[in-house]
Amino acid sequence: MPAPPVPDRAVTGDLPARSPRRRSRRRAVVTLAATLGGLVVLLVVAGGVAISLGPVSVPPGDVVAILAEHLGVPLGEVTTREALVVEQIRLPRVLVAVLVGAALGLAGSVMQALFGNPLAEPGVTGVSAGAAVGAVLAITSGAAGTFVLPAAAFAGALLTVGAVYGIAALSRSRGLATVLLVGIALNALLGAVVSALVANAPDEQSLRGIVFWLQGDLDARTWEHVRLVLLPVLAGVAATVVFSRDLNVMLLGDDAARTSGVDVARTRNVLLVLASLLTGAAVSVSGVIGFVGLVAPHVIRLIAGPDHRLLLPASALLGAVFLVSADTAARMLPAPVTLQTGVVTALAGAPVFLLLVLWSRRSTA
């Protein structure tokens, strides 16, 4: 029998369509510009405050003058002491915080997308734990130095990524669930190794070093650290952003994504390795810092929606803002109290995360 012709609004008899197209396009552009622009301003402010605050207070005007002079724009006289503090102590520390925070925010949003689970965080494949083993080994063996410690941590991270893939490849099913299970097992195993190393630490000094590293701390970061983490993070950011639309489509599920033109297996492998390397590079110079990678993507999703073309760069920026602010707070606490950067991110991040959970549950209920 011949099928009846299909009228324009065949199914539910829609009212004449308002154009969702124009509205959606304009709104998308406005959201994009406002979110990214706002975050850049926030980052500049947070960075400026971080550089200006400290035992030697540097007025904001002088901060601008010192930075401008480096860019070849002489704005005015500043004392050498101020210039030295800014150049050799505060600026590298802030830059490390920016790069590490950006890497964690980005890696977190990529992991959440790959696992289709908003609870995934950068260390889900076990990289952070692997980096911890490398770092703790370096500290207990007394070899730790500005270069050796991050290198050992990054080697630990790399070995862990290799192990996850080796084991997942050995098992017949190469699905994501396997990677997740292997990651959980490795996290537990490497955590136990760290505990064993801590229990057998040779002296008080290395024990203290280990505890500081495991909580994540940005004290005494130098240009050396900036150099170590700069390239991996920039390369990771660039490479990850290339796949942002594929990530959107992959959230529809493997079948739907592949039949929409995404090479799911290849994209997932590339992104898992990239996100793991980003995490490994970040953690190597900062120690294990929690909650940045978990919270940043959630906040962005609530403000600007789940489109990864915005979510990825915005999560990187917000991660940077968060870590710079947390590190400033950690430095500026009144005398008898000392908190490490990683402790501050958890102290501030966990309540924020709880509020987000309540908020998003209520708005969808």
Binding site: M1, P2, A3, P4, P5, V6, D8, R9, A10, V11, T12, G13, D14, L15, A17, S19, P20, R21, S24, R25, A113, G116, N117, P118, V242, R245, D246, N248, V249, L251, L252, G253, D255, A256, R258, T259, S260, G261, V262, D263, V264, R301, G305, P306, D307, T364
Partner: protein, 257 residues
Amino acid sequence: MIVVDGLRVEAGKSVILDGVDLTVPPGRMLALVGPNGAGKTTLLRTIAGLHRPSRGRVLLEDRPVHSLRPQVLARRIAYLPQDTALSFPFTAYQVTLMGRHPHMGRFALEGAADHEAAEQAMAATGTTRLADRSMATLSGGERQLVLLAKALAQDAPVLLADEPVSALDLRHQLAVLQLLRACADAGRTVLVVLHDLNLAARYCTELALLAGGRVLAAGEPAHVLTPAHLHEAYGVRAVVRRDDVTDSLTVTALETT
């Protein structure tokens, strides 16, 4: 045109499909019918390039689908899965626009043509009013309609749909099958998995009855829907009559055998 040639598909040690031959020219709408576990979904997925056959092949315009890159394949074949779980709050319009993914360059933003296609697809499926709603807040049937809109926006000459009406009410079942039939009449190749034999007989130009991983019968509804075939495939005693009102075949299953 889709040609399935001597197809055998295995999963682990079990054989899901064996010796399947099927040809669907453009302008036809074929329903894959058969009992649970007959291999309908596996056949559809293999045609979509999601399963690698262990023997035989699927040809799309004389080229094996497994040799085509995902992006190239997606421009030619659109596939509507049974259900899609979304854990992040994309809106219905954003999901529909994702159908345009294979047509866009890696760094391109959606252009006017992409928005046009998405909007038309939403209008055709009656989902325009859902455009700004989050997929998470839609009912199962509404989600199915939006995913159909996404598949239509993909604008591929071949359309595969796995139980596209399973979550829909009476009215929407008819509307969706009318829409798919209109696609076929406009020259597309449409393959659809259906459980309802009466709807299949009424809207599809041909049927393929699968049982135990083989094609038991294929062709016009009258050729496929016979008491003997139904007995063999489903293990039921059934009568097949021509319905006066719709002028199509209806199947009434009487008892299991």
